[in-house]
């Protein structure tokens, strides 16, 4: 298409946009038909974000080098007390220190 837009990528983005919109309108469509949500379905839906997002950091922690392990562990401690932005900035500082200061 051009330097900026590759056809396969644009199609992938638009497909992602469509499924995202379906999640945003889906609960409304469901609730106006179902009236109530089965408790187990609600428990499963509630678990989705934590379950999906955990798969995106846990293997990185287990298989990463010591620089990555230390940074993620520190981020967990910091994240329990401070906002996400503070956590990210602190993690960035820690990884830079470990890599450039300690040569990990």
């Amino acid at each position: 298409m051009s330097d900026q837009f590759h056809l396969d990528m644009v199609l992938l983005i638009l497909a992602s946009a469509i499924v995202t919109y379906l999640t945003r309108i889906g609960g409304y469509v469901l609730i106006t038909r179902l009236k109530t949500m089965p408790p187990r379905l609600e428990a499963a839906l509630n678990a989705v974000p934590a379950a999906v997002l955990t798969t995106l950091w846990a293997p990185a922690f287990v298989y990463g080098g010591y620089d990555v392990k230390i940074t993620i562990a520190a981020a967990l401690v910091i994240g329990l007390r401070y906002s996400q932005i503070v956590t990210i900035v602190a993690a960035l500082a820690i990884i830079l220190l470990l890599r450039h200061g300690f040569g990990l």
């Binding site: 187990r40 955990t54 798969t55 950091w57 846990a58 996400q84 993690a91």
Partner: protein, 239 residues
């Protein structure tokens, strides 16, 4: 359209500006992972769901089949189903097109600020919602563009520590869900299942396998008799 109500909505969205760095982060990560400036902007303009967009660029880099990328985006955004169900009583008076736009703009902070506004004023008009949504959407798109522009100038992501930002970002999101019921069994199961699956089955299947294991645990554990107060409450950041 009542312009005062619209501006009140814009003002209602102001706390969300605290999450503006996520737009920058997304834009920078996108271009650092080989996504172009135009594509990154298109993602923010049409998908408009930060965490799933970052999952998307993470998976593009691993040469994952397209359907699995779309499925992963869907999985990360699945929580919106709860918000949209919760919003049903508020949109009764809205027209069909207004409803369609309302749900397009339904992000975590939009949901949080809208409900907070309703608690305070006992009303939630489409105009207010649109004002709030315009601010959140606008900052997300502009911050993406700024981040993507500067991301193109980044040389070595490893030397700058950018590779560790994604896991830390996702860990931070997970921490934000810690008050939900069954949090530890779900996260523990997903962590173990995805780590084993990465070794035994390989990437990107560990994402789906770990996620399904965690969700299954949540569905199979005994149902609580008291409703979960924190269940559908979103965090006040763009995810």
């Amino acid at each position: 359209m009542n312009s005062r109500e619209f501006l009140l909505g814009v003002r209602g969205g102001l706390p969300v500006l605290a999450s503006a760095p996520f737009g920058l982060l997304f834009g920078a990560l996108a271009t650092a992972n080989g996504v172009t400036f135009g594509e990154a902007s298109l993602m923010s303009a049409t998908i408009y769901a930060g965490a799933s967009q970052i999952v998307g660029i993470e998976l593009f880099g691993q040469h994952v089949p397209a359907w699995l990328v779309v499925l992963s985006v869907f999985a990360v955004n699945f929580r919106h189903i709860l918000y949209s169900a919760a919003l049903a009583p508020f949109v009764r008076e809205f027209g069909v097109l207004q409803r369609a736009l309302t749900f397009f703009l339904l992000t975590d902070p939009q949901f949080a600020e809208s409900l907070r506004h309703y608690e305070k004023t006992k009303s939630l008009t489409f105009t207010w919602y649109l004002g709030c949504g315009t601010l959140i959407y606008g900052q997300w798109l502009i911050m993406t563009m700024v981040g993507a522009y500067f991301g193109q100038l980044i040389g070595d992501p490893h030397a700058l520590g950018l590779d560790v930002l994604l896991p830390v970002y996702f860990l931070g999101l997970v921490i934000g869900f810690r008050k939900r019921s069954r949090f530890l069994p779900i996260v523990g199961t997903s962590a173990i299942a995805s780590t084993l699956a990465l070794k035994l089955v390989g990437s990107p299947w560990h994402v789906s396998i770990g996620a399904i294991a965690g969700v299954a645990v949540a569905a199979l554990l005994p149902v609580r008799t008291t409703p979960d107060q924190n269940g559908a409450q979103p965090k006040a950041v763009v995810e």
